[in-house]
Point group: C2
Chain length 485, copies 2
């Protein structure tokens, strides 16, 4: 699918035009992409969307029609339009692989290149990474809550888009969901597709049993019957058992039943007993109806007998604390070797200046202990003081015995992807493995243990130095303003 | 943009294959699209997404590559794949025009055609209509809260997609938003595009004043300056005033300033005074930072001096009660002339059977009074009993003096659109006009007055007749089940 370069905010173009006027387009710039709070007030996020983001960068070019449209806006000079005609992304991208566990405050993707190219791709990168990371995290939370049960994705009809459902299915797979109802996601990404029938199928026949028999006859190897159109336990499950017997007589097995309304805990327990008593312990129970990680968790605790959780709306729209959006931002951190910083009244919104590397500290047995955001090449060492990014008064010394790895690696150089593309299965394995390596309590759905992310001594010193410079400047301005009053 | 027919749930295809096996594909079917609760717990919704939905229907066809993919799934017979090769939508669609005020419980779009075509388009229609109606409604609420202020849309980077932002910009325009940062939406839909610079622009220069001057020099007629990078009142606004003076000396006017953080009420009031005192009452103030209708309303009440509200995240992801999704559903209501009904334990989930027409009752001066869902051709008359759709014990007689109009009209016949396409401006005018025609209190943001939507006497009788039939059937089944135990 082509990702138009016009799928961007106008200000990326007006800034580019301004940089061209000022002769600044070729200045060397670094931008960091990060988010300020973990999604869903949880303890972690699952990084996703990198491969589509790199595809966007590699194929970035304006069509003649797009340039004609930009000309009609009356904002841009012919020289700028010509500049766009040959515009490409030729920079460097650093990021961890998809499926990696990441945390608020640390750069999850960095772009180095000319000011023009590195600035322009802001909106495109944010659009792709924000949503996919949000979905992958939601999916991982649901899979964790299902505690061994299978989670499949049915959210297309409520996804934002039209093609939000496509990104949803991809990112949900990175987060551990196994299968989607979305057929295009199956074709594009090789995701296993799942689905059987809607209530309208049952209603299209003279009665429920006839509708079940017709479906089983068309799909003898893969039938899951929707049993709640009229009366789940009174007619749906008994009819499903009748059809299961008929299938078995012909050498096939009914695969499952689906319950889409009512008290899923009660109904799944009753249905399980009825199926077992009738000799069908292998028929699986699919439950759906506005499920999310909290409901799955509570149903598990109440003894639900659901084997497969069909999740739709709340995965696709990423509902929950935080309101459906990952607040990923993309900030200039260095220009022509000069580190830059955005100060804010809110210390949490002041950025970390300069190029950086995230180091992940692990125990001898590989469990995650803490992350430190460092300046390039800086090696965390025992005894080093590190700082809370939001409150520099909170500082601790690093203990001994930590193994340090580097979170990001170069994934694009000179606008060309480095190395091959990973499969979604590899990413899903990674997210599953890494969530299990978190310190105890970080995977909790609410009020999780807070994973420690710190700022290194050298980075903290740089930040303080720049803040002092800005304070000097604004003091001067305030004085000037006072004189005018 | 092509909308692949594979952007659908697998079960639409398995059901189609089943209908083909059963020889049912050509049965004449009617489906209704409706939602069960108004979005955001509000008093109304703005219908949007019809033109893209009709475009999807008109162009529905499978490519050879898509058919090859479906073959590889191992689910479908060669006969079914051949059936899909010539599959088109040739049915009828009935709907109100976009921008129409609609309510929970009433059909907002109906599809009549062969069972195959009418069933298959379920997911595609829901994906398009659900999100666009949700956005248009959110936009209308924000525009209402802004009470004469302008609202523009900046949500692309947080939209779901990648191209959710494109639908967002379109639907927001239907709801009354005037302008978007999304350049592709400008090209595709002729929406005015808006935007100036990001914090990174300011940070890319040695100091703020230099950055402001550079921007004003590149765009002397359309400059809006972002004043909150370091210190809104201490440096941002004073520097903007300096640049406004310099622009005026050259015969231009600064268009505005933008504040993106902090206490927008306080800052906008202070900035307004500073700008006015300096002789720039025409410089407008743009406010942004996670705004929604509730914040806009509260800021208005507190004396905010913001002229233009930039809304992003909360519009694009439709945050608020309801969690980012319109629960639109698509239900079979008639097959081969036989009305169908889905019963549910929850009376609110029992559907209304058969083909229907929504009649809107208006006062002599055109204000909306109430809607009645009727059987085809049924004319509401004074004294007729009408019923609450969720509680048939609640019934009233229709008063005299009501003018009745028909909400929907035929917008597609034999798979071809009827009449020309409306402009987004016409739709926006309609939504604005119709919100103003609502009974007092229906437009309230929280706890609104509930607009009356009733079921006609004839439709209620049909519903009760079918429910009695189903109760008979399930009683028989329950007896059968009892005997097995």
């Amino acid at each position: 699918m082509r990702y138009s370069p016009l799928l961007t905010d106008l200000y990326e173009l007006t800034m580019l035009a301004g940089y061209l006027e000022e002769g600044m387009t070729e200045q060397h710039a670094t931008f960091d992409l990060f988010f300020r709070t973990n999604p869903y007030e949880g303890g972690y996020a699952i990084f996703a969307g990198l491969a589509p983001a790199l595809e966007y960068l590699e194929n970035l070019r304006f069509t003649p029609e797009e340039l004609v449209y930009l000309t009609t806006l009356g904002l841009f000079t012919p020289r700028f339009i010509e500049f766009l005609r040959d515009f490409r992304f030729r920079g460097r991208v650093t990021a961890p692989p998809e499926g990696t566990v990441v945390f608020a405050g640390e750069p999850i993707l960095s772009v180095e290149g000319s000011l023009a190219e590195a600035q322009f791709v802001e909106t495109g990168l944010l659009t792709i990474i924000n949503y996919q990371t949000l979905v992958a995290t939601k999916a991982a939370r649901m899979v964790h809550a299902a505690a061994g049960g299978t989670v499949v994705e049915f959210g297309l009809r409520r996804a934002h888009g039209p093609n939000g459902g496509l990104s949803c299915a991809r990112a949900a797979t990175v987060g551990g969901v196994r299968g989607s109802s979305n057929v295009l996601a199956g074709m594009e990404y090789g995701i296993p597709v799942r689905g059987t029938q809607a209530h309208s199928w049952v209603m299209a026949f003279p009665d429920e049993l006839t509708s079940f028999r017709a479906y089983a006859s068309a799909f003898p190897d893969s039938t899951i019957l929707l049993v709640d159109t009229w009366d789940t336990l009174g007619s749906g499950v008994p009819h499903a058992i009748t059809v299961a017997r008929e299938l078995r007589e012909r050498g096939n097995e009914l695969q499952g039943i689906r319950i889409d309304s009512g008290d899923l805990v009660y109904l799944s327990r009753q249905a399980r007993t009825m199926l077992d008593d009738a000799g069908f312990p292998g028929v699986r129970i699919v439950g759906s109806n506005d499920l999310d990680e909290y409901l799955i968790d509570s149903m598990k605790n109440e003894g639900s007998r659901i084997d497969i959780y069909g999740v739709g709306t709340r995965l696709a729209v990423c509902s929950g604390p935080g309101g459906g959006a990952l607040g990923g931002v993309y900030k200039l951190t260095e220009l022509e070797g000069r580190p830059t910083l955005k100060r804010s009244e809110d210390p949490a919104k002041s950025t970390l200046p300069g190029r950086k590397e995230v180091r992940r500290g692990m125990s001898a047995d590989g469990r995650f202990l803490q992350d430190v955001i460092c300046t390039p090449g800086e090696e965390p060492a025992p005894g080093d003081t590190v700082y809370d990014p939001y409150n520099p008064l909170r500082q601790v010394a690093l203990p001994a015995g930590i193994r340090w790895s580097r979170l990001g690696k170069t994934v694009m150089e000179d606008g060309v992807r480095c190395g091959g593309e990973e499969s979604l299965e590899v990413m899903a394995d990674r997210s599953h493995r890494e969530v299990a390596l978190l310190p105890e309590g970080c995977e909790r759905l609410t009020n999780p243990h807070r994973y420690k992310v710190s700022v290194s001594k050298r980075l903290q010193a740089l930040r303080e130095e720049l803040l002092a410079q800005i304070n000097n400047q604004t003091t001067i301005h305030r004085d000037g303003q006072d004189k005018q009053e």
